[in-house]
Amino acid sequence: MSDTLVEIKNLTFNREERCIYNGISLNIPKGKVTAIMGPSGIGKTTLLRLIGGQLKPASGDILFAGQNIPELSRSALYEIRKRISMLFQSGALFTDMSVFDNVAFPIREHTKLPENIIEKMVMMKLEVVGLRGARHLKPSELSGGMARRAALARAIALDPELILYDEPFAGQDPISMGVIVRLIKDLNDALGLTSVVVSHDVHEVMSIADYIYIVAEQKIIGQGTPDEIRAQQSPLVRQFIKGEHDGPVPFHFPAKDFKDDLLGGKL
C-alpha cells in the first residue's frame, strides 16, 4: 500500500510484567491526520515512542515507509528519525537556549548551512506559529501555549514527513487550544505532512482527524472516520465518546480483588 506511511502489525509490548499492547495492528495513511484516542495511562505515549524507536516491542512489526523500525541498526534508526518529529507533551524545549536557538537546533545539528540562511529558516517557522516576536525569550519566560507552539516550530524546522503529537491540547486554555487545532490542521494540509495526534480530548480530535483509532484494554476497540465513530453502537466506544465515568472501560487500575487486598494483608 503506497498511501500508508506507518503500518503497525501485531504489536505486543510489555512494561515489566504488565501488558500494554496485545497484538494491535493499525495503519497511518500518508498526508492525513490520524488520531489515537484512549483514556490516560493506556499507553498512547508509549505507542509514539515505539514508532520513534525509543522502545522495542516484545513482538510485532512497525513499518515506516517499508522499513521495520525495531530491527533497524542504530545509524539507520537515526536516519529515519530525521524524517520524523515528535511534539512532546511537555514541549521539552531546551531550557538553556532561547526560542530562536531551540528552533535552530535541529537545523544546526543536521545541516552545514550558513548562519544567515538558518536565521531565515527559523524566522519562517516562528512566523508560522506566531512567535517571531518571542524569539529572544527563554523557555521559562513563555506561557504553556507559547511553549507548545515554540516546540511545534522546532518540530517542523527540518520539514519532517511525519509529526507525532503527544497530547497537544492537554492543559491549554480554550483559545490556545483553538490555535493549536488550527495549526495542526494547516500544517498537515499546507506542507503535506502526515500527522498522528494522540489525545483524550474527544471534541478537538473529532474536529481535525481524518481517521480515529480508539485504544483501550491493550487493544483497538474502535476505529473509523469521525462520523463513523459517532455512529458506533459498541458500548466501549460510546462510553469513551460520551465521557461516562464507569462502564465497560474500568475506572480501576488492574488489581487483585478488593476483598483480597483488604483481608490478605500482604501486598
Binding site: Y78, A92, L93, T95, P106, E109
Partner: protein, 257 residues
C-alpha cells in the same frame, strides 16, 4: 534462607547492570571527544560552568588550608628548631595529597552535583528524549562535552589550589611568623621533586575522571522525577567522595612506597 540468596543475587545483578550502563556511557563519552567545529563552543561553555564557576571556592579553600598548614606546622617544627622544613612540609602535603584530594572533594560538591542535577532535570523534562527523537545523540551532545570539560578543568583547579595554598603558607610562615624567606623557598626546592608535581597531577587527572564520570552517569541514569533527581545528586556527591578517598589510598600506595 533461599529468599536471602535470591535478594543477594538480585542486588548483585542490579549492581552489575548499573556498572554496565555506566561503562556504556563512559565509552561513548570518551569516543565522542568534542570536535573542533561543533564541539568547541559546547566544550567552552562547559569549561565555564564546571571550571570558572568553581574557581572562587578553590582559591579561598586553598588559601586557608595553606595558612592553617603553615600555622600548625610551624607550631610543631619550632620545638625542634626545624622551622626551616616548613616549606617542604607544606609544599609536599599540598602537592601530593591535599591539592588533588581536597580539590576533588570540592569539585564533586560544587561541579559534580550541578552536572548530575542538570542532566537529571533534562531527562525528567524529556529534553534528552526529544533530542534523541531529533536524531541527535544526547551522549554526544550533552554528556561528552561535560565529561571532557570536567576532565580538563579539575587538574587545573588542583594546580591552582596547590599554588594558592603555598602562597598562603608563605604569608603565614614568612610574613607573619618570621621564617626566613630564603630558607623557606630554598629548602622547599631542595626537598620537592618534579616527580611530586607529576604524581600530584596524575592523581588529579584520575580523580577528575571518576568524579565527572559518576556525576554524568548519575544524572543520565536517574529516575526522572524530582525525588529521583535529588537522590541522584546526593549519591553522586557521596559516591564520588568515597571513591576519591579510596582511590587516593591506592594511588599513594603505588606512587610513594
Amino acid at each position: 534462607m533461599i529468599k536471602r540468596f535470591g535478594q543477594l543475587g538480585h542486588t548483585t545483578l542490579e549492581l552489575l547492570a548499573g556498572l554496565g550502563r555506566a561503562l556504556i556511557i563512559l565509552l561513548s563519552a570518551i569516543t565522542h571527544m568534542p570536535n573542533i567545529r561543533k564541539g568547541y563552543p559546547l566544550f567552552v561553555k562547559q569549561v565555564y560552568s564546571v571550571g570558572v564557576l568553581s574557581l572562587i571556592i578553590i582559591i579561598v579553600s586553598g588559601l586557608f588550608i595553606g595558612m592553617v598548614l603553615a600555622l600548625q606546622g610551624h607550631g610543631v617544627l619550632i620545638d625542634y628548631g626545624a622551622e626551616a622544613s616548613l616549606g617542604p612540609m607544606v609544599a609536599l602535603s599540598l602537592l601530593r595529597e591535599l591539592g588533588p584530594v581536597v580539590t576533588a572533594l570540592l569539585f564533586a560538591g560544587r561541579a559534580g552535583s550541578a552536572l548530575t542535577a542538570e542532566i537529571g532535570l533534562m531527562k525528567a523534562t524529556e529534553q534528552l528524549s526529544s533530542m534523541e527523537m531529533m536524531a541527535v545523540d544526547p551522549l554526544r551532545r550533552v554528556i561528552a562535552p561535560r565529561f571532557w570539560a570536567g576532565l580538563f578543568c579539575m587538574p587545573l583547579l588542583a594546580a591552582i589550589f596547590s599554588m594558592v595554598g603555598i602562597f598562603g603558607s608563605h604569608l603565614v610562615g614568612v610574613v607573619w611568623l618570621g621564617v626566613d624567606q630564603g630558607t623557606f623557598w630554598s629548602v622547599m626546592q631542595g626537598d620537592v621533586d618534579f616527580a611530586d608535581i607529576v604524581n600530584g597531577t596524575i592523581k588529579a587527572v584520575s580523580f577528575a575522571f571518576v568524579v565527572t564520570w559518576i556525576a554524568v552517569f548519575k544524572g543520565y541514569d536517574c529516575v526522572p522525577t524530582s525525588e529521583g533527581i535529588s537522590r541522584a545528586t546526593t549519591s553522586s556527591v557521596v559516591q564520588a567522595s568515597l571513591v576519591v578517598l579510596g582511590l587516593d589510598f591506592i594511588l599513594t600506595a603505588i606512587m610513594f612506597t
